[in-house]
Amino acid sequence: MSSTRITGAVLVVGGGIGGIQSSLDLAESGFKVYLVEKSPAIGGTMPQLDKTFPTNDCSMCILSPKLVECGRHLNIEILTNAELKGISGKPGNFKAVIEQKPRYVAMDKCTGCGDCAEKCPVKLPDLFNKGLSQRKAIFRLFEQAYPPTFAIEKEACLECGICARHCAAEAIDFEMEPNTLEINIGSIILSPGFEEFDAGLIANYGYGIFKNVITSIEFERILSASGPYQGQLLRPSDMKPPQRIAWIQCVGSRDIHKVNNNYCSAVCCTYAIKEAVVAKEHSSTDLNTTIFYIDIRTYGKGFENYYERAKEEHGVRFVKSEIHRIYRDENENLILRFSENNKIKEEEFDLVVLSVGVTQSEANQELAKTLGIQLNQHGFCRVEDFSPVSTSRAGIFTAGVFSEPKDIPETVMAASAAAGEASGILAAARHTLARDKEYPQEKNIIGEKPRIGIFICHCGINIGSVVDISAVKDYAATLQNVVFVEDSLFTCSQDSQQKIKERIEEHNLNRVVVAACTPRTHEPLFQETLRETGLNKYLFEMANIRDQCSWVHQGQPEKATEKAKDLIRMSVAKAKLIEPLFQTNLEVNHSALVVGGGISGMVSALTVARQGFKVHVIEKSSRFGGIANNIYSTIEGFDVQVYLKELIDEVSNNPLIHLYTEAEILDVSGYVGNFKTRLVIGAGKEEKEITHGVVVIASGGDIYKPNEYLYGNNPNVFSLIELEGEIAKKNNLISTSRNIVLIQCIGSRDDERSYCSRTCCSKAVKLSLELKKLNPDVNIYVLYRDIRTYGFKEQYYLEAREKGVLFIPYDVSDKPEVEAISKEGKDFIKVTVNDLILNESFSIDADILALATAIIPSPDSKKLAGLFKVPLDENGFFMEAHIKLRPVDFPTEGVFVCGLAHSPKLITESIIQAKAAASRACIILSRDKIESGATVSTINKDKCSGCGMCMELCPFIAIEIDGEDNTATVNEALCKGCGVCASSCRCGAVDIMGFTNNEIYSMIKNGAFGVLE
């Protein structure tokens, strides 16, 4: 296929975290991206959340840099208020029709100052806060929204024009018309997200009638510091702090009676735990938090620990009981009836949170229809086990909750995976539509005396109405090295930028200070202006006299003016010292190394190869396939062995993929873009050196071999995976058995391994169904703690129960006991269990006992972690860079992880993660050069004594001690410029460009005393 026929652009539908991740990955690897979002800002659900589990990270904090990055990306065109209305064409060459509703605010003019909303007379419920507070008809979705510009909700607007009169930037335009766009793209990624289940549909809970019955997302907003109650824990009826809060789980999920949803929403258990823990932190009293559940499904990485801590450390109470109805008393308190310890109880609560599930909106279903893609029985996008991000229509991929309920990291993984798939079909058109900006040759100002120009912004009336700008201007002019000072109404406006450029020329400025809003949002804009004049962009400094001055000292104009002077003096003091900074370019070796030849490794390798890059796959054993060699089908019934064979064939026949078996790594050197790995291969121990730009660690996991329950001592005791093999082998024992017992959580969720192995419940259900199919009369007993058939696997659990599989809960403190017995010349395994629900003990004479043994880290993990300088978690699995937003990355750049090496997971999940890891890796491979950061660490070798403190503290392993002269060396490609090294160096040998000790010291000296003294 010639590249002219493929369009190097992708349409991403949905601006949530999934859409953002797909867009960034694609744009970073050389494609043009159109990101279509139906609301006025990107962000999706994450901005609404207070904290994220299981680390209690602030949701907004971790998202916000992504919003900015996505918003500023040269090759991402964000279309807000927009919807995809239709497509035509075929993969590689689609044409999409997009309808964009007017914002009524010109995005190129609006400065986001907020004067309009302050003056707007129309108040309406703020849906972002779920109606718990109000907003105006002209509004910004949330404070950190991107784009930061305002929008008018036309339906509510009176067109009184007050906003327009108060808009100093003249951005408001009531005449705006809807716009229809036609764009050419090569592929489409759908990540339109989900809709929370409408709790009003369950009449018994009184949602919408009882003021103190709220949904979980409403509770998130209540907890949020930027929410309707400013983070105070209050209940809506009387705005008093609640003392007793109940969570009701599975509202709208796992429910075929009240609503017809036979799937599990997957996230609610952990988010309820999080909400309970965070609520306790917010409360000044010893808050009573109770979670009513069916099964606690904390199956994800780190979740089980989180659950245990909630129970043990935070005192969150868990009651295994369904709640059928909520009663309300005259104080708006709520009464729940439930069973605890086999007794029916009634208890009063001040607030009830309904853990609502996820569903697909009509709009999303409509979208599917428009695009001609199939939905599954639950109304979600239909995908298949071995192609989990592909829709039924070629060239259209999906990420996130559109295809199944998922948490954030799974969504992010799927998003990267989808981006990888799209890149795979568009690889030939990479870099055809994505642009690089051209700038004039940079002026050399090194050695010049500083000539500082100061530009002071009024920000309409935002700064000017509080700070005495003319006094500040006069003062600024007296500062040393300042040769020019000017004020303007909006320094950030287009014409002001032009003016700044002219001033730089006229006055030969070599440093620029802007006193305006915050550098966090505006620094890049001004830096861009500097670059356009040929000044190095780092010759810029900003004084934040709005967000951190005029806005917060409105009633104290004199003090605010004094502060503004101080801030400018401090900025000038720094500006005097700043120097141009340069990024270094590093060559990239365009091939990948994949460690591990299981499904994850092979899928990774294929994904990389499809994008046109060479891959080396090393497998320590003599055979590819890994653990999957012992798995025969998925719970959905797909044949794993067939898939595996196809996969191995495809990998073996791909000319870009080089396979090595019986390979062992000797050592690894280098860094992102330029790794060198030495191997010994095969029985002959042949040595080989591979150079590569990236690494994907897919080294897999292992299966726990129990010492308990007669395992290894009795021929009729198997692990689940062995039982699966026996079924496949059609072992006679299986067909003749009358009683088969499965015991769950062997080696998982215990003191030694606190995590949940995630896959075993589904496997037990799958095997039970298979056994029942072979012999409908067989009695199957599954002894479990919680059945964790999350997502669509829930339906198989339901089916198993319908088919008569007995699920018997046991308590971890009272584990089942087994004993080998002989009865009438036949050997049995006597299993005695105390049924938690019936609270009675009984025994089963089992023909077969199968143990759901834990998935444990591969014994090689530790060695690999050392070789590639990446961390392991407390359980010995590889630890990703960030559990939420960087689930396949490591702090060490250029190294990625997927599959069981990361944590226990199902094949489908491994495939997604493998595609994601490969997709992330290809971002690096797609570049000719890697630009290192400019604000990086630098070592003064004359001062360094080589003690190694910096090296030990560096979170990115960017520093090494040079053996020869015993001094530190920074790898600029790995350094992120955090400065931990600089602050820890006793010898003063380390500094951070852009935040040097000298610069900060001069700011301190100029900040510690005031103008008026």
């Binding site: 004359d942 001062k943 004594s945 080589g946 403190m949 001690i961 006793r986 010898c987 001069s1002």
Partner: protein
Amino acid sequence: MTDVSNKIREEAGKLLEKGEVDVIIGFEKGSIPLSATPCFIRNEADIEKLIWNEYCGNNLSLYLSKARGKIGIIAKGCDTRAIVELIKEKQVQRERIVIIGVPCEGMLDRKRIMIRCQSRNITGIEDQGRQLLITGDSLNVAVEKDEFFYPACQVCANRNPVMCDVFIGNTIEEQKTDEFTDVTDFNEKPSEERWAYITDEIDRCIRCYACRNACPLCYCKECFVDATQPQWVGKTIEQSDTLSFHIMRSIHLAGRCIECGACERACPVMVDIRKLNRKMSADVKNMFGYKTGLDIDQPAPLSVFKPDDSEEFILDI
């Protein structure tokens, strides 16, 4: 003592003879009464110079990072702790040194004894075990050794070498003095009183940097106090500058100071420098459960962290 000296000479002689080391760093007799002085022995003929007595207070590990070749070093408990830290901080290579460990029951504080003797001319010193009988110019005093051990020696918990290649003498019983009661007691005083004490001490400082230069762990090529870009701490003897120097030095030594007391021994005006360093040692022990100079493999407390490190000092709103 003579036994120990002889044994040191014997072992040092062997090392030099066999060519296992190029130099032995030890002590020879000092030029003034109540003193011993560091010496560098390169020839077997000079071995006889080596001595061991209760005035061998200097921490010789100081010379390790400077000296070239293979080094044999006479080391007390505190000196070996310094060596452990120096190895950990890559200033000394373990294979380059041979440690001749000597247990130490404390070193005598010459300055304080001289004060006790009113700095008069000393003509005779008779060692009576627990006591020194000192005679001289209108001078005849009995000095109780117990009262004149260096302050650091009085709270020393590692009188035996923590690591050595050759051990000389017999292991001695360790003192149980690791409770930092001095720090706790001082902390219980009101803030004004603490400030008054510290500034009174610091005001005597003349910034000769003997404390820094005598410290085995102060090996920076350029000390922050000498740096000019930026000049974090002014060069004057104004209280603010002097105190800042000592505070920062204590911070730089936090988790590294091996409490040998070399700083205080070197100080010509007897500033209580250890008041600052002891505090850091106490904190490092209490907050991070770390004691310096005991284990080469244990990472320095400021090069690691625990997610659940104490947050007590964090302003909680």
